[in-house]
Amino acid sequence: MSITTSPTEQSAAPRTRSFTYLWLLITLGAIVSVSAVRLITGQGELDSPGSLRAAILATCPILMAAIGGLWSERAGVVNIGLEGQMILGTWGAAYFTYYYGPLIGVLGAALLGAVGGALHALATVTFGVDHIVSGVAVNIIGLGAAEFLAEAYFANLPGGGVKQLTGLDRPPDFTVPGLAAGADSLSDKGWFVISDVASFVAALTTSLNLLTILVFALVAFSGWILWRTAFGLRLRSCGENPQAAESLGVHVLRYKWVAVVVSGAMAGIGGGFLALVASSGFVTGQTGGRGYIGLAAMIFGNWRPGGILAGSLMFGYTDSLPLRSADTVHALLLLVAIGLIALALWRFVRAERRQSVVFAFLAVAFLAWFSLTDAVPREFTGMTPYIATLLVLAFAAQRLRMPAADGQIYRKGSAG
């Protein structure tokens, strides 16, 4: 993740290629490890199509919040109001789905999230209020507004209540005929590697929700627009050096506004996903801190779409697995140990002895935990995103590259 890929294709080609090979290698290693752990522990649920589907469902809201964070922070505005914007999105999705159907419902989620974003933009960009302070206020308002609106608008609806609205129409699911069933049965065989790949295919082809597809499309779209277009270059320049951007005629405040509003909309869609796809309706407080996990995933992913995707998948997986199969969590310990050994070896090769020793020590600790216990308390996996983020920040902070002017208050006319 330390490699800064150049956004220009031509010269960056060799770098990008070795980068791709590296990732290919890592992916392959991961699949083999997962498969091995599955066979050793006999925990088929580790990567069954059902587990992976659940993981994807859990990933999407986190991913959208993280992408929302990416938009905002790439333009230099720290947005810890993601949680509040997400909460607004859950209400928006429920309200608009109830009256206009799930497709308009998604737009409603985006709209309500964008309103939260606009509030944050008004305070931070227009009035120059500290970003953290404004974010805290947005979270308070978002939570209060959603609860108030729910009580005011859902209490008397069929399927509704002062804190909920169920029975909403869901965006359509898709299953690829033939392929889905084939992959599913292949995954049931329990073969080494082959079944694991099949399981992955099955998860992606069986009752895949339209909104899930949209979420991944939005991630790709965000990456493209931020790194491959003039608009994206301008937006990122506001996060790196707004004075320079303004001196070149970029309307910095306008770009920051757009970025923060889009950020809110993305988080709102994440909330909408929670209400419409991941659960059976709207409940107040159903975000459960996922906005913060999104923030964590964004940092974990080094403010880049690829890293964010990896972080969100990891957090989504650890979030969903215990709900599906509490016993399987125990097998995860072995997987983590293998991962740590790989890290230790990599560090060793890179001649970073101290880190190598730390990772090796941790690997032994996880191995011991794995062999000395039979179960892992469910709560512990719930902590994974937070502890992982703390560890990454603590031990890989120098590899992280946040936008240079992130969190700084910018006032128009301060160029020169």
């Binding site: 009580e151 709560e379 902590m383």
Partner: protein, 366 residues
């Protein structure tokens, strides 16, 4: 002259904010199809005696929470983790006091010390991470909040005593309870004895910050970390100490309720005060007097909003919007006032100097 204007500015901002919040809340209530007039009539009705007692009790906890946040804010540290710190501290204190290792009143003292220590350690983690690894305390305290929540949930469900549908810690002995005081009839309830903690901490805060070397170092670090370093402040140590002080105050947050009414950690635990505290700290400009007004205002709104459910069809959650808008509006207003004052002061300096010495150069201070 400038002093007077400063005081004026400090008062204008919150007033503007409260008016803005009232207007926006009225709008929201009206939009949802209810009567804004009715809303304000209910909210502004004189509180009953019982409500007065509740307001004082609640305000004391909000005050402590805001004070904890304010210690951080005064040196540019964002301790978003008050929520997690006081939860963990309350749980640990409840376990220790419940075990009744030492007798009677000594047990109370032990409980307070344990609560402060737990809060300090939990917040200290964020401080140490910031100093040694450069981890932003905003992110780490958010993460630590979630970890504390999960940890306490785990311990309570594993070691807690079953009570109905939920679990709680051991109930503390009679001798370790802090008696309250009854300003009205007995049935109106008691003001908890440990409400006095808020007062004590408020005075200590003021004194330490304004009158001691430590306080000067803390404020200097908050105003300009680079200048503080150059002046010989060990910023790393200051960050860890301030975070720990902040966490220690946070640890005390729920103690008035614990020793005065709840007597165990369980369903009686009041969550969410950590975030309210951040809001109130901002509202009160991180000054104890301002925070006190903010705490009373928020407690007042919370308690009065309980009537909405009984007397109208307006959701009591609307006051959360009011509170959020107050905070956002007040920080915006402070920012605008601050800029105006800085500009006015610069003008005043120039005017004064020109009058003094007409040939003085006009120089732009960058």
């Amino acid at each position: 002259m400038t002093g007077l204007r400063r005081v004026g500015g400090a008062l204008v901002a919150p007033l503007v904010a409260v008016v803005a919040a009232m207007l926006i809340t009225s709008g929201v209530v009206a939009l949802s199809g209810s009567s804004a007039l009715e809303f304000w009539q209910i909210i502004l009705e004189p509180p009953a005696s019982r409500v007065y007692v509740n307001i004082v009790n609640q305000a004391s906890m909000i005050f402590l929470s805001a004070l904890a946040a304010a210690v951080g804010f005064r040196m540019n540290l964002f301790n978003i983790g008050v929520e997690g710190q006081y939860r963990l501290a309350s749980y640990v204190a409840a376990v220790v006091v419940g075990a009744a290792i030492v007798p009677g009143p000594l047990n109370i003292l032990l409980g307070l010390v344990v609560a402060m220590a737990t809060g300090a350690v939990w917040a200290g983690i964020a401080g140490v991470l910031r100093v040694t690894r450069g981890v932003s305390e905003v992110i780490s305290t958010i993460m630590l909040n979630a970890i504390a929540l999960t940890l306490v949930g785990y311990f309570l469900s594993t070691y807690g005593i079953r009570a109905g549908n939920s679990r709680r810690t051991e109930i503390i002995p009679e001798s370790s309870r802090v008696p309250g005081f009854f300003p009205f009839e007995e049935r109106d309830g008691a003001i908890w004895g440990l409400v006095v903690l808020a007062l004590v901490m408020g005075i200590a805060f003021t004194f330490v910050l304004n009158r001691t070397r430590f306080g000067f170092d803390l404020r200097a670090t908050g105003m300009s970390e680079t200048a503080a370093v150059a002046s010989g402040v060990k910023v790393g140590r200051m960050i860890v100490i301030s975070m720990m002080i902040s966490g220690a105050i946070a640890g005390l947050l729920w103690m008035p309720s614990f020793f005065g009414a709840a007597y165990s950690y369980g369903t009686a635990f009041q969550a969410g005060l950590g975030f309210t505290g951040i809001a109130v700290a901002l509202l009160g400009r991180n000054r104890p007097l301002g925070i006190m007004f903010g705490a009373v205002l928020f407690a007042f709104l919370n308690e009065q909003s309980n009537r909405l459910t009984l007397q109208s069809d307006i959701s009591q959650n609307v006051v959360q919007i009011t509170q959020g808008v107050i905070v956002l509006a007040v920080v915006v207003a402070y920012e605008v006032v601050r800029r105006r004052q800085a500009a006015a002061e610069q003008r005043a300096v120039t005017r004064r100097l020109e009058a003094e010495k007409p040939t003085a150069g006009q120089e732009v201070s960058a």
